[in-house]
């Protein structure tokens, strides 16, 4: 499909030490600690917040790995560490066989073309002073790809890909609703023709009817471009609708990981069971049963005071 060639310029030649056998992304023993400091002038690290504590997983080509957990479980921090937007405290992140931790800024910029991010808040993640065309083409500018003209062409094509009229290039973000802005964010993430997209709560700010449009779009794009997703969300039903495999996070650790249907139908770990039982479902009869079920799990979930 010609649509698949999103960038106007061929992606710069990259060292490809990987064999096809290795998954696209391999994360091993990833840790991210945030130091807690005390003292004026002479600061001492008195403790660490272990936001991500020894996490290992992999994302295969064309696959979606769902990362689910409550706020503060470390799921977004994990996503940021994978993209090297946060420097991990220790551990390894290999993308297409290449180790990302410890790469120089220059080197990192080059590899970053291959993996992009879609943010949660479609209002904060688009610069209100830039036109939609400029926003979508910005990754190309940063990477010095193409000419003004070709970049504009790319932006127009990407608008079409996410379901807009190409004429929208000259509009500004304030003219769009939340769901439409999220489409623009997705178009921007596609600009460099990446292989992996980290979706950080991409639909949690959206209404149900709009949420479904965006989820379907993400599914379509995955098919069309063979994308892999690391899909981070707190909504368990949304994660199920998107993911091949699922990793459940709690307090910085992955407590359970496996095939989506298996994890949802036969959760092995107490925490996963409790989390699933807590979700209200749109059916009053089932809800009565679930309410009883929930009581059994109370001990697992001590509410923070």
């Amino acid at each position: 499909m010609s649509e698949a060639e999103v960038t106007t310029e061929p992606v710069a030649a990259q060292p490809e030490p990987s064999s096809d056998a290795e998954p696209l992304l391999v994360v091993k023993n990833l840790k991210k600690y945030f130091p807690v400091k005390k003292g004026i002038l002479i600061e001492k690290t008195v403790d660490n917040v272990k936001a991500v504590d020894d996490v290992s997983f992999e994302v295969r080509r064309g696959e979606t790995l769902g990362l689910v957990g409550e706020s503060g479980s470390g799921k977004s921090t994990t996503g940021y560490c994978v993209l090297q937007l946060l420097k991990p405290t220790s551990g390894s992140v290999r993308f297409r066989g290449q180790e990302l931790t410890g790469l120089s800024r220059e080197k990192l910029r080059e590899v970053r073309r291959e993996f992009q991010i879609v943010f949660q808040d479609p209002y904060a993640s688009l610069n209100p002073r830039m036109t939609v065309g400029d926003i979508i083409a910005e990754p190309l500018v940063v990477n010095k790809l193409g000419t003004r003209k070709s970049r504009r062409k790319t932006a127009e094509r990407l608008l079409d890909v996410v379901g807009f009229s190409p004429d929208f290039v000259n509009r500004y973000p304030h003219e769009f609703s939340g769901g439409q802005r999220q489409r623009i964010g997705i178009a921007r993430a596609l600009a460099l023709n990446p292989q992996l997209i980290v979706c950080d709560e991409p639909v949690s700010a959206l209404d149900v009817s709009i949420q479904a449009q965006i989820l379907n779009l993400l599914k379509d794009l995955q098919q069309e471009f063979g994308l892999s997703y690391l899909f981070i969300a707190h909504d368990l039903a949304v994660v199920r609708a998107m993911s091949d495999r699922i990793a459940v996070m709690n307090l910085g650790k992955i407590v359970e990981m496996g095939d989506a249907d298996k994890v949802y139908e036969h959760p092995q770990v107490d925490y996963t069971q409790a989390l699933l039982a807590a979700v209200p479902v749109a059916d009053p009869v089932k809800m009565r049963v679930r309410r009883e079920e929930r009581k059994k799990h109370k001990h697992v979930l001590a509410e923070p005071v």
């Binding site: 979606t64 409550e70 706020s71 609703s177 769901g179 209404d207 149900v208 009817s209 709009i210 949420q211 479904a212 449009q213 989820l215 379907n216 599914k219 707190h234 909504d235 368990l236 039903a237 949304v238 199920r240 609708a241 998107m242 993911s243 091949d244 989506a260 249907d261 949802y264 139908e265 409790a274 989390l275 699933l276 039982a277 807590a278 979700v279 209200p280 479902v281 749109a282 059916d283 009053p284 009869v285 809800m287 679930r290 309410r291 929930r294 979930l301 509410e303 923070p304 005071v305």
Partner: protein, 334 residues
């Protein structure tokens, strides 16, 4: 006589661009001890409905017409002072964001006793004692010690419990909860919903549960009203609404919801609703859902505003093409 009767409520907001019809012809009844769930997406008017009942609509908004009868008393014509006597005393309200609805510069105790001393003739000591009881009632551990803490020492779920304690402090007959669990994690949400149900029983309260979450209403409500673009488009008992939704919007909304227990959901597509809700500055003059409705044809849908009618006992719908009367296939589907 029902505890609360809202009849043809209209609340408009004057803006430079024109008048926004945020709530347009909303009517419902709520019996004592019952829970009514109001569901809808952002901007459908569910919160403004609650604020209108409470007399809390601020300029440029205005309750343009309609009546709100509570316990036989008309609320829309009350003076400010009289309304203040009812608010907090007979009708309690909890808001969505427990982070911003508590004053960060006052202790929890001060804020709790404020409501008590406004409405009840209590000494300082008595008010304090009652405040401790209230915190215990909403299951806050070490209540007497935590009374003198400031809100930042409480977690999100615990703050919402404090808000609930305040709302029920004067034993109101009606509790209005506006998205009470939206800012909370699912596990914390479950605890708060359980608490609300427990208190509703104990205090024999009626409740209006406003939320965008279909699961939350399924769990808490006896009756459910679905709002779209400022109007109630469907109202029924919770069971009937989920078993046999009639309005094309309700059907579509339920279809668009990812299901927790759907095997192989990964490989399916979600049913989405095309387009987006209308601009309430100039809503469609007939059926407000018509532009997004797959059953709307060139007929009445675009010319005659549909009335809310009773399609079977207790089930009301505002549509020319409710599910059980439908004979034709969706327009444009071959």
């Amino acid at each position: 006589m029902a505890l609360l009767e809202v009849d043809d409520l209209r609340t408009y907001f004057k803006t430079r661009a024109g008048e926004v019809h945020a709530v347009d012809n909303v009517s419902f009844k709520l019996e004592e001890r019952k829970t009514l769930g109001i569901v809808g997406e952002s901007g459908c008017g569910k919160s403004v409905t609650a604020l209108s009942i409470m007399g809390l609509v601020q300029t440029p908004g205005r309750v343009v017409s309609g009546s709100v009868r509570f316990n036989g008393r008309e609320l829309t014509t009350l003076k400010r002072r009289q309304m203040e006597d009812i608010r907090g005393m007979e009708i309690g309200m909890i808001f969505q964001d427990p982070m911003t609805s508590l004053n960060p510069t006052l202790t929890i105790g001060t804020q709790l006793t404020e409501t008590l001393s406004r409405h009840l003739d209590l000494s300082r000591k008595e008010a304090r004692k009652r405040a401790v009881e209230l915190l215990e009632e909403v299951h806050i551990p070490n209540a007497s010690r935590r009374l003198d803490d400031y809100p930042h020492r409480y977690s999100g779920g615990m703050r919402q419990r404090v808000m609930i304690a305040m709302a029920i402090s004067c034993n109101p007959k009606l509790l209005i909860a506006d998205e009470p669990t939206t800012a909370l994690d699912v596990t914390v949400q479950a605890g708060v919903l359980d608490l609300l149900e427990e208190l509703r029983e104990e205090h024999a309260m009626a409740m209006i549960m406003i939320t965008h979450n279909m699961g939350v209403v399924a769990e808490t409500a006896d009756d459910i009203a679905v709002m779209y673009a400022g109007q109630i488009v469907e109202e029924a008992t919770a069971q009937d609404l989920f078993d046999r939704p009639e309005h094309p919007y309700t059907e579509a909304l339920l279809g668009a919801l990812p299901k927790l227990d759907e095997p192989d959901a990964r490989n399916g597509r979600l049913a989405s609703i095309p387009g987006r809700p209308p601009d309430l500055l100039s809503p469609p003059n007939a059926c407000r859902f018509a532009p997004r409705c797959k059953y709307a044809g060139s007929d009445d849908c675009t010319t005659v505003p549909p009335e809310l009618r009773e399609i079977r006992p207790g089930h009301w719908v505002r549509s020319a093409h409710p599910a059980s009367e439908r004979v034709r296939e969706p327009v444009g589907v071959s």
